[in-house]
């Protein structure tokens, strides 16, 4: 049936609803992670292999509808990224397109809200694995989450400790805050999500003409 609804104004509930959205996405992530216990068996797995397992468990959680809110969410793992903002000759097409590791969707009606995660294996001690051009760089350049105001980085900790990687990331983001476009109130801050992952950190970045983006970095031990 054709929709004939006019809409006026903007709701002051946006921030609350968006916080719920981000929270629920992280709860789904944690529920799937808990189903992967004991996680030491993934210590030597590749990033895409762990992402595949994580995605499979997220789908299971969603299929079971354990909580009423879960029906509002869906997951598209390994989704190709289109580049409609670029002229056609410059676009990556077909299999040449970049692939997101996870894209959550709150799909009730339009406009559709999405939350993407870029995942990386942390098999070395350097912060570059998450923050380089193929990690945070893709979000800051607008290759990923171009229209979004929030996105996620997912670090699979396969050597050393979560605390070590968290400190390394924080030091790098503080030392080169300008390069990463960290805004005044956007410093590395621990975030607590009830029933969510225990190690989540938030930063906020400017992206030139694109909307500012809040990046939630989640560190998950797999060792």
């Amino acid at each position: 049936m054709q929709r004939r609804t006019s809409t006026n104004g903007r709701s002051e509930n946006h921030d609350d609803y968006h916080a719920v959205f981000v929270h629920c996405v992280h709860q789904l992530l944690e529920s799937a992670y808990q189903r992967m216990q004991p996680v030491k068996r993934f210590e030597l797995w590749k990033e895409e292999e762990i992402s595949g397992e994580l995605g499979r468990h997220i789908d299971e959680v969603l299929d079971e509808f354990g909580k009423p809110w879960m029906r509002f969410y869906s997951l598209a793992p390994e989704r190709h990224v289109d580049e409609p903002h670029l002229p056609v000759p410059k676009r990556r097409l077909g299999k040449r397109r970049k692939r997101l590791d996870f894209r959550f969707t709150c799909r009730q009606r339009k406009p559709i809200q999405r939350f993407i995660f870029e995942a990386k294996s942390l098999k070395q001690s350097s912060a570059a694995q998450l923050l380089d051009e193929d990690g945070l760089g893709r979000i800051l350049r607008g290759q990923y989450a171009r229209e979004d105001i929030a996105a996620g980085l997912l670090g699979y900790v396969q050597i050393s400790t979560v605390a070590f990687h968290a400190k390394t990331l924080e030091d790098e983001l503080v030392a080169r805050a300008t390069n990463y476009g960290i805004v005044a109130n956007g410093q590395w801050t621990r975030v607590g999500f009830l029933n969510g992952p225990s190690e989540v950190f938030r930063t906020k970045h400017s992206r030139g003409k694109l909307p500012e983006i809040t990046v939630f970095t989640t560190l998950m031990p797999f060792r």
Binding site: M1, T7, D16, K67, P68, P111
Partner: protein, 186 residues
């Protein structure tokens, strides 16, 4: 969820048919929401199929049906924000002979069951003043469109004609989806 006349899947059909429908729903494993979709399609929306304008779809909704709509709308919105949210949705419907306004507040206050109030009653006085003011501000939309949605602060107002097909459980789910999507939009 509490039951009302409008909640019953068969709208007063003879008991054997209602029982048969119930058995089919169970056999197909349809949940409550899916059952509502089937019911509204068969008993309401089909009356609008192929250019028809059947009375099952266009008649005035009963108060119980508007209450059911309000209850389902609130449940959808509360489900989205989850049990952990400090705020819940309060839904009140104010109606006259021609149209109705659904007022949704996202509030920290304890919320009672949704209310459906006739515009000329004392209980509806405050909301009726809001309704008249908003109708005045958006007169052209109320006149030309079937529905109007207004976001004001924490409150959302839906203006709807008093026709049955605007007040189904299916429509409550669709309206909630619209509100969620539009509220989430940057």
């Amino acid at each position: 969820m509490e039951q009302s006349e409008a909640d019953t899947p068969d709208d007063g059909q003879p008991t054997p048919i209602a029982e048969l429908n119930h058995l089919v729903f169970r056999l197909l494993g349809l949940d409550e929401r899916e059952q509502a979709l089937v019911h509204d399609l068969v008993h309401v929306r089909l009356a609008l199929n192929d250019g028809k304008v059947g009375p099952e779809a266009t008649r005035e909704p009963r108060v119980a049906e508007m209450e059911t709509y309000a209850r389902w709308l609130r449940r959808e919105l509360d489900d989205f924000v989850g049990e952990e949210s400090e705020r819940r949705h309060a839904v009140t419907v104010v109606y006259d002979d021609h149209s109705a306004m659904v007022a949704i507040d996202f509030t920290r206050a304890a919320t009672a069951a949704p209310h459906v109030l006739c515009a000329d009653t004392a209980d509806a006085a405050t909301l009726e003043r809001t309704r008249q003011r908003l109708r005045g501000e958006h007169a052209q939309w109320v006149y030309f469109d079937r529905a109007l949605k207004i976001y004001r602060g924490r409150q959302t107002f839906l203006f709807k004609p008093r026709q049955r097909f605007h007040w189904t459980r299916t429509q409550a789910m669709l309206d909630a989806g619209d509100i969620i999507a539009e509220t989430l939009a940057p």
